[in-house]
């Protein structure tokens, strides 16, 4: 009833190729941005911003990064955590060497280091496909983690072996380090995530995005259409690692304040991969939904017993959360193996023809 594009005629290819060709989608995304940029900062408390929204946005961006590689280019990777780590350590070294340069600029710059490393570890993808490629990216994961532990230069020879983010200001506002307010961090993280999501959406609907999907769907046919497999795959690795690197740098600069090598372990890689699979391979919106499910749901579940007046121990709540989230993951994968993005599409299709079944 309220989601129906009947009567919205497109008279130009510009309108037909727009990012949100249906007016309701455009309004919807406007409302979401309004809530994110205005309503949440005005109403939310520090806990909500620091423990829910900031990590959610960081994970969303990382999931977008992995989605570019796995969902759009079809190359399975388990090195996401390490590529995020490369971004984090690169940003840390950059801000150590250039303390006066804007920290947001350095975070965005650090992604290029991750892109470079990602492209190198993407080289085997020319010969190896599927699960075997995942194993070679696993090598990246362990090698890079080893670097973070064994090369003291990377963490400025700290006794703790961890990187601690110094205080950095932007336009007179402290945005990183322990003194930064959650609100300032939130705005930085939100802006970067929205900007990168928007830019990558542009790439995905154009020539380059199509060439990635060609490789994903039928690599032999893609090559016969004139796509160079190596360049295309390496570009996907580089772009994906860039985004993951920026997400990793944001993770330590604007959320954790300090990180050790184990922050970027294989566990993180799997977490991001689950977000992508649950959210829906090959969907940017799905990356946000998957991140919300994996990160926000457990936090929310921990508060439910207290909120409805049941007194149970903290560790019991923890275990219950694990069980509930695990069961829900299995449930959703059985209901819709293509993830939340597909569920959302089905819901939209149903709305479109409502009140009729088809």
């Amino acid at each position: 009833m309220f989601y129906r594009e009947a009567g919205q005629y497109k008279t130009s290819y510009e309108a037909d190729q727009a990012l949100f060709p249906i007016r309701q989608d455009l309004v919807g995304i406007g409302v979401i941005l309004l809530v994110a940029f205005v309503v949440i900062p005005l109403t939310a408390n520090d806990f909500f911003l620091a423990s829910i929204m900031i990590p959610f946005l960081v994970f969303s961006l990382a999931a977008i990064g992995l989605n570019v590689l796995t969902g759009f280019c079809g190359q399975l990777s388990l090195g996401t955590g390490a590529f995020m780590g490369v971004g984090a350590y690169a940003a840390y070294k950059l801000t150590t060497i250039f303390p006066d340069v804007n920290v947001v600029f350095l975070v965005l710059l650090s992604g290029f280091f991750a892109a470079f490393i990602g492209a190198i570890f993407g080289l085997p993808s020319l010969r190896i496909k599927g699960l075997y490629l995942a194993v070679t990216t696993l090598a990246a994961q362990f090698f890079l983690e080893w670097c973070f532990i064994r090369i003291p230069w990377l963490y400025n020879y700290n006794a703790s072996g961890a990187i601690e983010i110094p205080k950095r200001e932007m336009f007179g506002v402290v945005v990183s380090g322990a003194e930064a307010t959650p609100l300032a961090r939130y705005f930085v993280v939100l802006s970067i995530t929205v900007a990168i999501a928007f830019l990558i959406a542009n790439v995905l609907r154009g020539r380059i995005g199509r060439s990635w999907m060609m490789i994903r769907d039928m690599d032999i046919a893609a090559e016969l259409m004139g796509i160079r497999p190596l360049q295309t795959k390496l570009m996907a690795f580089a772009v994906s690692s860039y985004i993951c690197g920026v997400a990793g740098a944001m993770m330590v600069f604007f959320w954790l304040n300090a990180a050790e090598p184990s922050s970027y372990s294989i566990t993180l890689s799997f977490q991001i991969l689950f977000m992508v699979i649950l959210g829906g391979l090959g969907s940017l919106g799905g990356a946000f939904l998957g991140a919300a499910f994996i990160w926000i749901l457990p936090v929310a579940l921990k508060f439910i017993p207290g909120a409805i007046g049941i007194e149970i121990g903290a560790e019991t709540v923890e275990h219950l959360t694990f069980m509930v989230v695990g069961a829900l993951i299995i449930f959703f994968l059985i209901v819709e193996p293509h993830g939340f993005a597909r569920l959302w599409q089905i819901a939209k299709q149903k709305l479109r023809v409502w009140p009729f079944p088809y």
Partner: protein, 273 residues
């Protein structure tokens, strides 16, 4: 031998000389280990003709197409493309030189829409780099629209307007074959290789496809090399036919000549020894 039906309709109709040969295959042999797929085959494809390659199953027809578009590299023999001997090349190089093909088993990009599939055929002609693509507004969008117009022409030509935004995985088989032809046409090829374009189609779909192939040949002047098992289609459409059996060429000539050839009859019907 020289009954070139389509050639007479070409504007620049000149007697067949070497300059009219678009692609020539000389003494090509291809083996996979001990299995000889192609043995010492020579033939040529003239500019503007429809050339059929036929033969019983396992005769080496598809291997021949794979050799032509660079997917396989023959151990012996040469391939001359537009007058110059072609060195060993990758398939994407063949594509950039103007060779397009369709596949025996539909090889569309299943997750993409019909429109995106046909747009993918324009990949080689689009050049805006990553940073323009990031911005979208401006050059990247203009380029996209310019190619979209060409693609829409193909969609009109193939009468598939209604399925423009449908993911091809959901289309029936006959339409998928048509989209695949559209994708190859979007490359604006000089030589179009069709691997069993009518396989698994009903009579009506075959007639549609035959009409499209003739239109492509006559209106766009595209040279076509065609593998097909439906002999009625082959004899009606093609200007010249080359017949393979067990990796060897057993006949070459006009459809009428080939039909009369004893070797061809033996290959298809079998002989008592």
């Amino acid at each position: 031998m020289n009954a070139f039906v389509a050639k007479d309709e070409l504007p620049q109709s000149v007697p067949a000389t070497n300059s009219d040969v678009l692609l020539r295959v000389d003494n090509v042999s291809l083996a996979f280990g001990g299995v000889k797929a192609i043995t010492d085959i020579s033939f040529d494809i003239l500019k503007g003709e429809i050339r059929a390659i036929i033969g019983p199953n396992g005769a080496g027809k598809t291997s021949m197409l794979n050799v032509i578009n660079g997917f396989y590299h023959p151990q012996e023999g040469t391939i001359t493309w537009r007058g110059s001997v072609r060195s060993k090349m990758r398939p994407y190089e063949a594509a950039s030189q103007g060779i397009a093909r369709t596949f025996q088993n539909v090889a569309l990009f299943k997750g993409m829409t019909t429109l995106d599939n046909i747009m993918s055929g324009r990949s080689l002609k689009m050049h805006r780099n990553f940073f323009w693509q990031l911005l979208w507004r401006g050059p990247a969008e203009r380029e996209e629209i310019e190619h979209r117009r060409k693609v829409e022409d193909i969609i009109d030509f193939l009468e598939i307007q209604a399925i423009r935004k449908t993911p091809v995985g959901r289309l029936p088989y006959g339409l998928q074959k048509r989209v695949e032809l559209g994708r190859a046409l979007a490359m604006e090829p000089e030589l179009l290789l069709l691997d069993e374009p009518m396989a698994g189609m009903n009579l009506e779909e075959k007639e549609d496809m035959s009409r499209f192939i003739l239109d492509v040949n006559q209106e766009f002047g595209t040279t076509i090399a065609l593998i097909e098992h439906d002999m009625g289609v082959v004899m009606d459409l093609s200007d010249r036919v080359v017949v393979l059996d067990y990796g060897r060429k057993i006949a070459d000539g006009s459809p009428e000549d080939v039909q009369k050839s004893q070797a061809v009859i033996d290959a298809y019907l079998g002989v008592s020894h």
